[in-house]
């Protein structure tokens, strides 16, 4: 029973690290960081390192809890969450507009009572696990379902991020405005399509000589053996997107030599 909250804590700490690293890696404008969590309490140029250091600390704690029963990690976890509670209270007092940043940019809503209650609940869970007799991986192997689920339920109720995720899924930016998958990913999707297989033999090379994105389409231009342009348009949304193709004569200005085919 004492170890029942270990899996919850470990998963949560790992999620926190992953989300923070994702925010930094997404190359967001620093103003996004300016609204996130304890980072707003430090000067601008230290914000990204502060977020990363916090994520690294979480990862170390998660690893310690998972692999050992050493009390230093357990007390450190208690201290970490207790400190988080204090930081969030301070954040709420000094920067009421800033989000807690606990899970990266998903947590950009201003710190509320729920976020603070969540860190308090986590502190409580961490205190319970101090006296757990087994390391985290044992708790994963033999979970005591009812206590673990109860812990998860409490956290879910106290997480404003879940509301935010639901909102985001309901109101996504249209695909014209979203940053698309990388060119290589789109090329791989093109190559797995039936249209590509039907036209592959005509092309001189498998590498496009030009590629560009317009609205929701990514275009790839190739040359065929007659030196005409073979152009593929791949829709940017979906794993198996619509692919269209046309062959345009090298000296023509407008008309394709045959009508476009839809896949």
């Amino acid at each position: 029973m004492l170890a029942s909250q270990l899996p919850v804590l470990i998963v949560l700490l790992c999620l926190g690290t992953a989300a923070k690293v994702a925010v930094i890696r997404s190359g967001r404008e620093p103003n996004a960081l300016a609204r996130l969590g304890p980072a707003v309490l430090v000067p601008g140029r230290f914000r990204a390192p502060a977020l990363l250091a916090c994520g690294a600390a979480e990862l170390v704690l998660a690893a310690g809890l998972l692999l050992t029963t050493h009390p230093i990690f357990r007390f450190a976890t208690v201290a970490f969450f207790a400190m988080s509670t204090y930081v969030l209270l301070e954040l709420r007092r000094r920067r009421p507009d800033a989000g807690c940043g606990c899970f990266g940019e998903v947590s950009s809503a201003p710190v509320g009572v729920r976020s603070i209650a969540r860190t308090m609940a986590l502190t409580g869970m961490a205190v319970v696990t101090v006296w757990a007799p087994v390391p985290g991986w044992m708790a994963f192997a033999q979970p005591s379902w009812e206590f673990t689920l109860a812990g998860l339920l409490v956290l879910a109720v106290l997480s404003p991020e879940i509301d935010e995720l639901i909102e985001r899924a309901r109101h996504r930016a249209p695909c014209e405005q979203r940053r698309g998958p990388a060119e290589g990913v789109m090329l791989a999707r093109l190559r797995s399509s039936g249209t590509w297989r039907a036209h592959r033999a005509e092309l001189t090379t498998a590498e496009p000589y030009d590629s560009w994105r317009e609205l929701c389409w990514r275009f790839f231009a190739f040359k065929n053996h007659q030196q005409d342009d073979v152009v593929f348009a791949v829709f940017m949304a979906g794993r198996r997107p619509a692919v269209r193709v046309a062959v345009v004569e090298a000296d023509s200005e407008s008309l394709p030599s045959y009508t476009p085919v839809s896949a």
Partner: protein, 313 residues
Amino acid sequence: MAYPSVDRRRVLAAAVLGREPGVPGPGPEGEPLRAVTGQIRDVSPHLILVETPEGGSERLVIAPWAKAWHGADVTPADLPVGARVVMRTREGRVVERIWADTIRITGTIMSVEGRKDVTVELDCGPHRGRRTILIPYRATGRLRVRHPQFEPGYLFDAIGIRKDGTALAMLPATSQPAYPARSVPAPPPAYGGMTSRISGTVTWADAFDEDERGAAYPMVERSDAGCPDAGVSCAGLPYLAIGSLLQVHNVCDGRSVNVPIVACGCLAGRFCDRCVECDTSPRGRIAELSPLSYVELGGDLVKGCFNAQIGLG
């Protein structure tokens, strides 16, 4: 970075999606304006002779009501020989507005030096590099009042003249955005898909070739344009490519022109300002035009912007 076949992109995209490839040039409405650029060879109260960038020469009639700008309003006959001019003409040969040696200084402030005459170093984006400009003492008041954050990291936008190889800033082109250049506000959320036309402000830049007609557009994929600062805008713009045709409509005087996108407008996307030329536009610069395209749409280089709508041409 070289774009091997950007002119061809429009034809290829139209062929594959089964749509009409647009044609660059003015729309049907209104009497078309023609912009002429060149270097003054001779000027008199009624005639002006310019050498065009292709090397030809053009002799134009100056209308009696014509106005000229060369750091301040002047009469056309006072323009110095050798000045580079952009002129707006009606019916092809009658000049009604002349802008001489006019430049647009847009960038992020890197350093500010000097007490009376202020020297400012600007970062004009990855394609345009850095430039150093001088603000003469008589212009500092006007510029500083519209640029309250006169320190490194903030944006700067002014109109000025080129004099003896020095860029002099004379007039503010906008009210400086209150945020640092790297903290552009996010666009408003788009519920229920895109609208076909987007409103905002259109400005001009002097970083185009002299006789080029085209636009710089902020929302291009970073990997395609080779521009690490692209893809930022507070106007909710769709992604387009270099080579796409943009239909720009001047809301103030009803003209529209199809212009190709020829560059990435990394810097234009960082300005989340409004144009108050004929009404208050929504926030955000949606395109930056070359001087010729801007003048042919009815814009005034000294005013620096007009309210516009854009659509895909």
